[in-house]
């Protein structure tokens, strides 16, 4: 068995900059970050925390069928998404709300999915959405799409040219539960075989709904990738600097043609799996308390204060987050059901007799009801 190394960590849980030994080789990847970047990371996380809470409330008020909270996982997502270049392509699961925000996706488009007003939500080919692909609900399926996409990037010659505007990497998010899916193993095989420009970003939030990660694996999950010939590292996923630095390094390496890598971010789902779940049935108060003490936002706030971030910044961020949530609520309530035609319109790219006939029938039927024929 491969030798274990400690998880990469820059910030201690009380927010002091104290890189551990594993973090040392990642230090250069923090070098370019400015105070302004740090504040951006904080705003990304704080706004996500706030709208995430708003969405849970909206679900409780009957405005959404479901909401999968990201509470607790903001640092893993923000660090990784901020490390990606604009041309990089991100494949999410269904909980990467912070990464979606970073890449420019309108959070209302996620709400639309969870409200039942849309299936996929947003157009991943629209430049405003930052190459952030659609959420995928069948666990692990997106890892293969990401690997195939990365194969295409390599076939296009958009790897290892040395041109920072051309070289492209793919980042795929997945969770601890998904590592038991065959598709995830197959994606490791295809990625290793094709040496794809790709980073596998695992958020180990310790739970697959109610099943603990110990049921999925007897070894730390980052070691799995090594069995497939994919270099891997474990990081403190609640340390946004660790997430940024590890992602930056492995995305850079992927773009330059060094093949795939895997990052396991140790984090914790503070909330429920989704609003349909009751985590008190399987999670102990002690576990929760342990991870609440490692809250990624509080930790980074302590760090920023120690670096001299002004009080006004934090007050402004609270106000900005509140405004963001209020706007999202307002727009959520105005979201309408899609047209009936949308059920048929894009089943096929080109006309298909069955859907064409059925839409015509439904239109005529609905018309007959309205006219009382």
């Amino acid at each position: 068995m491969a030798e274990r190394t400690p998880a990469v960590q820059f910030l201690s849980i009380d927010g002091k900059f104290a890189p551990n030994e594993a973090a040392e080789q990642y230090l250069p990847y923090l070098a370019d970050l400015t105070a302004s970047d740090h504040q951006q990371f904080y705003r990304d996380m704080a706004i996500t925390r706030r709208f995430d809470e708003e969405c849970t409330n909206l679900q409780r008020q009957g405005q959404m069928g479901l909401w999968p909270p990201s509470h607790g996982q903001e640092a893993a997502q923000v660090g990784s998404a901020r490390a990606a270049r604009p041309q990089d392509v991100l494949f999410p699961t269904y909980r990467e709300h912070a990464a979606a925000l970073v890449r420019g996706v309108d959070i209302l488009d996620i709400v639309s999915v969870m409200r039942g007003a849309s299936l996929g939500g947003w157009n991943p080919n629209d430049p405003k959405n930052g190459n952030f692909r659609n959420y995928t609900l069948v666990i692990g399926s997106q890892t293969l799409h990401a690997t195939g996409y990365a194969m295409g990037v390599a076939f296009d010659g958009a790897v290892g040219t040395g041109d920072p505007e051309i070289d492209t990497a793919v980042m795929v998010y997945f969770g601890d539960g998904s590592t038991s899916q065959g598709d995830v193993s197959e994606s490791f095989v295809f990625a290793a075989s094709n040496q794809t420009p790709q980073v596998f970003f695992l958020q180990n939030n310790h739970w697959a709904i109610s099943v603990p990660v110990s049921t999925q694996s007897r070894i730390p999950l980052y070691l799995r990738a090594q069995g497939f010939g994919i270099p891997s590292v474990q990081i403190d996923g609640n340390d946004v600097l660790a997430s940024y630095a590890a992602s930056k390094r492995h995305l850079d390496e992927a773009r330059s043609g060094e093949g795939p890598a895997m990052i396991e971010a140790l984090t914790y789902r503070i909330g429920a799996h989704t609003t349909s779940d009751d985590p008190t049935r399987y999670q102990t108060p002690e576990q929760l308390a342990y991870w609440v003490a490692r809250d990624p936002i509080i930790r980074f706030e302590s760090y920023l204060r120690s670096q001299g971030a002004p009080e006004q910044f934090f007050a402004d961020t609270v106000a900005e987050a509140n405004d963001f949530a209020a706007d999202l609520r307002h727009r959520t309530l105005a979201l309408e059901a899609p047209s009936l035609a949308s059920m048929f319109d894009n089943v096929y790219a080109e006309p298909h007799a069955l859907t064409t006939d059925q839409l015509a029938w439904l239109d005529a039927y609905e018309l007959s009801l309205r006219e009382g024929v």
Partner: protein, 328 residues
Amino acid sequence: MAASVEELPLAKALNAGLRAAMATDDRVLLMGEDIGTLGGVFRVTEGLQDEFGKKRVLDTPLAESGIVGTAIGLAMRGYRPVCEIQFDGFIFPAFDQITSQLAKMTNRTSGAVHMPVVIRVPYGGHIGAVEHHQESPEAYFAHTAGLRVVSPSTPNDAYWMIQEAIRSDDPVMFFEPKSRYWPKGPVDFTSSAAPLHATRVVRTGTDVTLLAHGAMVSTLLQAAQVAADEGVSVEVLDLRSLSPIDFGPIISSVEKTGRLIVCQEAPGFVSVGSEIAATVAERAFFSLQSPVLRVSGFDTPYPASKIETFYLPDADRVLDAIDRSLAY
């Protein structure tokens, strides 16, 4: 091409069709198990890796879900992948990627993402093979919204239909009748025979209509010849497309003959033949002189090959159905 019409086996016609598609569009790439160096276990892709290189003819790892799942990603990047599933019975590891991912991508993205992916599946019996190598799983895919499903029965159709399938912006399940890979037939390289989704009349008659796709079409033609010798005029239709189904020629034929027998190697229960029988009953009820009959494989697992001839419908079983239909 040297000659405009050439006698080719279906497998070589497919090879020529794939070559033509790849030469026309450099976004077309082939992927599958053993399709490169070996040329595929049925040699359908023989020589193509030498001609187009390893980046366009990919020997993939041995994982069907991986093949289709990565093809989806390649299609997102703008490629037009043609996947080979080595045998019919090996398609099920890819079932989620085909039915939940590939089939739904265009709809769930409101048309923003198209999936021009072809999945080639050698299917059907008559080759004396072991378990999972002789099945006819096409109904699963015809049942799935978002997929197009076609099956050529002749070398000429194989040559043209594979190119049309590759040109389609929708995912196409391309079922190749493997027992018909070897017999030769004319391939006209100058013009397409019929649109991808057209049902075609392959023999005209007046007393009863027989309908099938893939390898069963040749069985129907045998049966029709025997029936003709006995004074029964049989019309034979080649379905060619299982989704969508081109019902126009079927209804027209039934209006003429009043009798329809639907034939398939696949099990009959909840099958393509069942759907055709139901639709014809709805649309041509007053033209029917007898119930629509199905001649199908049995609703059992595909049997040990020493008894497969008792499982697969043959000309005698079709003739028996003709007798039953005419007895009404």
